[in-house]
């Protein structure tokens, strides 16, 4: 069997299925799974874990749509639909930036991937924090938006800490996922 026959054909149906499942996962882990932060009595959500996981495994454009649509859906479902347009753009761009920097994970050693993933995490964090600072300044003013900045940085840290073991686990458990890179 040659390489062409081994590769998954990334048909429109497969693309739609990938985006749907990852969008649902991003939305679910954003609004349903939360980690309390004792000092501030706030919460971190794990949506960024799925966004970074989508960027590292499935590529920039999958992360763009899954991250943007998933977080917007989560905002609507949890009663904060006023933030949905901002989340759509900011988290979408976060996924896109992280995916471009991470590159394709197929046929690449894990040791080289870790450095790329670190770069991708920095790019994603920068885009997400800057986006929410700008969007938040527009909605609630610069002062209130600045207060959210440490929380956003923590959230990205949690996202990367979760995404790396998740990506490695999926690589082992389901290698064809690496062929669904977009």
């Amino acid at each position: 069997m040659d390489n062409n026959e081994k590769r998954i054909q990334f048909s429109p149906a497969l693309r739609i299925a990938t985006l749907s499942v990852l969008t649902a996962a991003t939305a679910f882990f954003t609004f349903a799974v939360r980690i309390p932060i004792a000092p501030t009595r706030g919460y971190l959500n794990l949506g960024d874990v799925i966004i970074y996981f989508a960027a590292f495994t499935f590529g920039p454009f999958t992360a763009l749509f899954a991250g943007g649509l998933g977080t917007a859906l989560a905002d609507i479902i949890s009663g904060y639909s006023q933030w949905a347009p901002i989340s759509l753009v900011v988290h979408g761009l976060q996924g896109l930036a992280a995916g471009f920097v991470a590159g394709s994970a197929a046929s690449t050693a894990v040791s080289r991937l870790r450095l790329r993933w670190l770069g991708a995490a920095c790019a994603g964090t920068l885009v997400m924090c800057a986006g929410y600072l700008g969007g938040g300044a527009l909605m609630v003013g610069f002062g209130a938006a600045l207060v959210e900045l440490p929380g956003n940085i923590l959230q990205n840290l949690a996202g990367v800490l979760g995404a790396i073991p998740l990506t490695l686990a999926i690589r082992r458990a389901y290698p064809p996922a690496l062929e669904m890179h977009w």
Binding site: P12, I16, V21, L44
Partner: protein
């Protein structure tokens, strides 16, 4: 699914065509972002509140405002120090912290954010998710993207059940350790969630080709034009709703321009 989403009813807002409602939502958003004098902004907010109160009731009207109340307090406290022009109102140790301009800016932001939250809530509360998707389709959203959203909404309850089962199975293995996990820092608590998350995501990712096959048997991916089982009617009712929305938007525009 949760409080921010649709609740069925028979109010005027529920009966209006979702496309017409989307126009009104956009008009309110534009108005709230305009640099209007404070009285006009208050008038626009009151207009939205009146619409919501009459159609959905006081309880539903207060719900979005209760959700954002802590953030509104934060805005009132943190905005004035960044705008220190005008008459000084509070100057601890001689440093002008709160001024009239700062308070006005804070009020403006509070009204803007409250107004935007309110109109979004009214739209989502009175429009079924399928109607929202169909109206976005009518406005030009691609079939594929609408299908992605529709499938994602279907998958979320499945993921909820799967995560619940996986988390319970993990908790059985970790019986007695949950209390210790709760006392750890947030990094360790995040890492404690990863095993359950990994199990859920493996199941989800393995299901992607199965979903793709199901979509292909329904003709997704072929070049023929897709038809829709459900469509929004564009008859007399839609035109009436569009006219009513246009009158509302015109009234809003007049209020913005003419109100002293």
């Amino acid at each position: 699914m949760v409080s921010g989403f649709f609740r069925s009813g028979n109010s005027a807002l529920h009966r209006i065509d979702p496309r017409a409602k989307l126009f009104v939502l956009l008009a309110f958003l534009v108005v709230f972002f305009l640099p209007l004098p404070l009285p006009r902004l208050i008038a626009c907010f009151c207009a939205a509140a009146l619409l919501g109160g009459l159609c959905l009731g006081l309880r539903d009207l207060l719900l979005p405002l209760r959700l954002i109340f802590p953030l509104l307090l934060l805005v009132m406290i943190l905005t004035p120090p960044f705008h220190r022009q005008g008459v000084v109102l509070l100057a601890p140790w001689g440093f002008p912290l709160y001024t009239s301009a700062g308070l006005e800016t804070a009020l403006r932001l509070v009204l803007r954010f409250s107004g935007i939250s309110l109109v979004f809530f009214l739209y989502m509360r009175s429009t079924e998710p399928e109607q929202i998707l169909l109206s976005l389709r009518w406005f030009g959203l691609s079939y594929s993207l609408a299908l992605v959203l529709s499938l994602a909404l279907t998958y979320i309850p499945w993921l909820t059940r799967l995560y619940g089962n996986v988390r319970d199975a993990h908790n059985l293995r970790l019986a007695g350790v949950e209390q210790e996990i709760r006392s750890l820092g947030f990094i360790k608590r995040t890492r404690a969630k990863i095993p359950a998350m990994t199990s859920v995501m493996i199941q989800a990712v393995k299901g992607i080709p199965v979903l793709a096959m199901a979509l292909e048997t329904r003709g997704i991916g072929r070049k023929n034009v897709r038809s829709s089982f459900y469509e929004l009617k564009s008859g007399r009712a839609f035109l009436t709703d569009l006219l009513a929305s246009s009158l509302l938007i015109a009234g809003l525009a007049l209020m913005v321009v003419l109100f002293p």
